[in-house]
Amino acid sequence: MSALPLDVGADAALKPAVAVLLPAPAAGRSGWRLSWVGGAALVVSLLALLPLGFVLWVGVQTGWDTASALIFRPRVGELLLNTALLVVLTVPLCAVLAVALAWLTERSDLPGARTWAWLLVAPLAVPAFVHSYAWMTVAPGLHGLPAGVMVSLIAYFPFLYLPVAAALRRLDPGMEDSAASLGLGPWAVFFRVVLPQLRLAVCGGSLLVGLHLLAEYGLYVMIRFDTFTTAIVDQFQSTYNGPAANMLSGVLVVCCFALLGLEAAARGKERYARVGTGAARMPSKRKLGRMAALGLLLPALLSVLALGVPLFTLGRWLLAGGAAVWRLDELGPSLVQTLGLALAGALLTSVAAVPMAWLSIRSPGRLQRVLEACNYMVGSLPGVVVALALVTVTVRLPIYQTAITVLLAYLLMFLPRALISLRAGIAQAPVELEQAARSLGRTPAQALWAVTLRLAAPSAAAGAALVGLGITNELTATLMLAPNGTRTLATSFWAYSSEIDYAAAAPYALIMVLLSLPMTWLLYQQSKRTAGR
């Protein structure tokens, strides 16, 4: 290594580790750093495989007889049916609603379209369990599948609306012109040209909604609708680390993989990018004319349901509770704990994502893609599975029931958010720029710092903020893993609303919504930017 003068500035302490990771010194300088980064990426990816490994290990441990007895019983069938019906009903409804709303806000002359677009994204700032809290207040009789579908629809449709609206904005209107010149009426153009182009956006958004439906706990407990996730948490709370909960989580993981496979199959292999070169012209807006009133009704109704109801409820409880519910001696520590966990988790997750993000841009390859897939896979697993896995692994370790375990769970759950943002950021700093800096007399470390990290910083920050937002509103894993005495905003809210003290829960919900709003705005802006506008 000493033959490479450019390495002088590098940390000498790393060299023993490097020697292990580098069987062939002939790989040269870039091989040096690559191996170090590769080692780190490997460690993170193996960690990401932990929940899946846990499910497999538990399956093997339990043995077929016990496992089949635990899996093939009426209760599991009932849960499976509930969960399947929830997904099958909610996801298509969400998709239809999202396409209709996206068309209205992007492709029609709907009055105030930009305001509506923002109002339709804003419900993302309200955590799902706050939605159901609001609905329980407004209609205490709500329960079961219909209620589950309705509240899920209201809480999760923005996940589909965002990508579909972005795809609609990006569509080349030249294609629609061509279809019209080939004799197709407006409806035929929509179904034969526009809708097929939206397939990727609809598939991706549907997958996201489906995974959320599988993973959500608080929403369904509150409206008394049993899914796999609620049953697992119940089992965990009553029997602790029992095989029943573990087996259920195995089935849940299979459900997740079924969704992932379904999405991959539905997505197909077609290419949907614009084929031609040059800039697309701005899409023309269809005049609604007398239908405008009808068109306004849909986004208005949804805004009332998804924003109006939670805000009205919160306002009502805050008014009813008065100053008494603002118990600063509880709110303060809760806010501090939440922000502390969010900051530490965001930092840890971003740092853990750096090696893989780096490799995926600077040194893509087959092995790298497999490792990267592990990182994404773990993010699609429900928090309850991740939490169970960590409980099982850490129960005999000193980190059990400490903040470290909670942070590890956050790392696993939110790794994809950080990875995607970091990847985009590093991709904006092509290696040529770094080389240019080197040719201008910077050492590799200086070049990395002055060029690549500087350019990637905004994306990294956005990714970290997304992770932080996820942690702020996380309930399930926090409930299961947090050390005694931990009260985050979400768990405090949950404790109070479980005691039916809705007024005392309201300040916590309000703070969560307020903390989430800036991030939601960022998401909205980002989706506009990816569409090139």
Binding site: D177, S178, L184, P186, V189, P196, V275
Partner: protein
């Protein structure tokens, strides 16, 4: 199949911006018309109004006697039967080539597969490509598929919106020629929009020049090239030399001496135009210029461009008759651009004698 298109006083505004300020154009059945103009001149807007993607604020569009638009009341695009090939082809990326070409043919069309194969044949593409996807084709092939897709409708009128601009130079000329022949053979009235004057001149029977939302001049390509209405049109259609001159009896006195003009009736001061290829230069000894018996100039710059070399020539003021030219020429002191065959191009600094072939064009007004 052949149908004439008439545009009368087409107006179009986008907010406060006037895109078209009253365009009249008539396109003969089976002919090829090219609409040229710098970007922002309104040519694409005009094409989109003909296609029916947009309605004019005022004005009438008729095709073969049928009224397509009269002010904002317009027949929608899908009922017009007008073929349209956009700039980049706009092939549907989610369909195969077969799906693209057959897009406008109903499923139950008799002999649908044969028709698609025949269309591929017409645009000189191999039928083996039918199973491929648009992104697997080159730019030129994509354009041909877009053309085949539009031809499937047997359109009465074909609109081409800069369809060749995305292709590289060599492919561009050959594709243009092939498309012109194909549409001519099918007898389809065609309108091409382009910002490339060479493309317009070679493609069309009629060239229409647009500027600032108005149609400045329309006519046969050669007429427009040799007899443009004003200096701007002249400059748009190719390099030009515009000189102030005094006219009398079919001759002009200008910086180049006495030049024949194509307007024998005009007298007095006027602007005349020459194309660079009308000027011929012959190298002479430096002392010759002092004699002043003809028009001389010094080569100040040469720009080698392969077969043709573009020379910048600065006129030399001698003492002969040319030097005694009337007042306007005294003020004229710009370098002349001369197109000279590279084989015998004079070197920089050489003295040349300049002669004018053919007549100069006199701008009206």
């Amino acid at each position: 199949m052949t149908t004439s298109l008439e545009l009368q006083a087409i107006h179009k505004h986008y907010g406060a911006v006037q895109a078209l300020g009253g365009v009249d154009l008539s396109v003969a059945p089976g002919s090829r018309t090219a609409i040229v103009g710098p970007s922002g001149s309104g040519k694409t807007t005009l094409l989109r109004i003909i296609a029916g993607f947009e309605a004019p604020d005022a004005g009438r569009v008729t095709l073969g006697g049928r009224q397509l638009a009269n002010g904002p009341e317009a027949v929608p695009a899908h009922e017009r039967g007008i073929g349209y090939v956009p700039q980049d082809g706009a092939l549907f990326p989610h369909l195969t080539i077969e799906g693209n070409v057959g897009f406008g043919l109903p499923r139950n069309t008799p002999k649908r597969a044969e028709r698609i194969a025949e269309l591929m044949d017409m645009v000189a593409l191999d039928s083996a490509m039918l199973a491929r996807r648009p992104h697997e084709l080159s730019g030129g092939q994509q354009q041909r598929v877009a053309l085949a897709r539009a031809l499937a409708q047997r359109p009465r009128l074909m609109l081409l919106d800069e369809p060749f601009s995305a292709l590289d130079t060599g492919l561009r000329a050959s594709t243009r020629k092939a498309v012109a022949q194909l549409l001519g053979a099918a007898g389809i009235t065609t309108i091409l929009v382009t910002h490339d004057q060479a493309e317009a001149l070679s493609f069309a029977d009629q060239v229409a020049v647009m500027r600032g939302g108005l149609l400045v001049q329309a006519g046969r390509p050669l007429d427009l090239y040799l007899r443009p209405r004003d200096a701007a049109v002249a400059g748009f259609l190719g390099d030009s030399i515009v000189l102030p001159a005094q006219l009398a009896g079919g001759w002009a006195d200008c910086a180049l001496g006495r030049v024949a003009v194509n307007d024998s009736g005009r007298r007095g001061a006027a602007q005349i135009m020459l194309r660079p290829e009308q000027l011929q230069v012959a190298e002479v000894p430096v002392e010759a210029a002092a004699r002043g018996d003809a028009c001389y100039g010094a080569v100040t710059d040469t720009d080698f461009g392969g077969s043709v070399c573009v020379l910048s020539v600065r006129l030399v003021r001698g003492t002969g008759p040319a030097a005694a030219a009337p007042a306007p020429s005294a003020a004229w002191d710009e370098a002349l651009l001369v197109h000279s065959p590279s084989m015998h191009a004079p070197a920089m600094g050489a003295m040349v004698r300049i002669t004018v072939a053919g007549q100069a064009h006199v701008f009206s007004a």
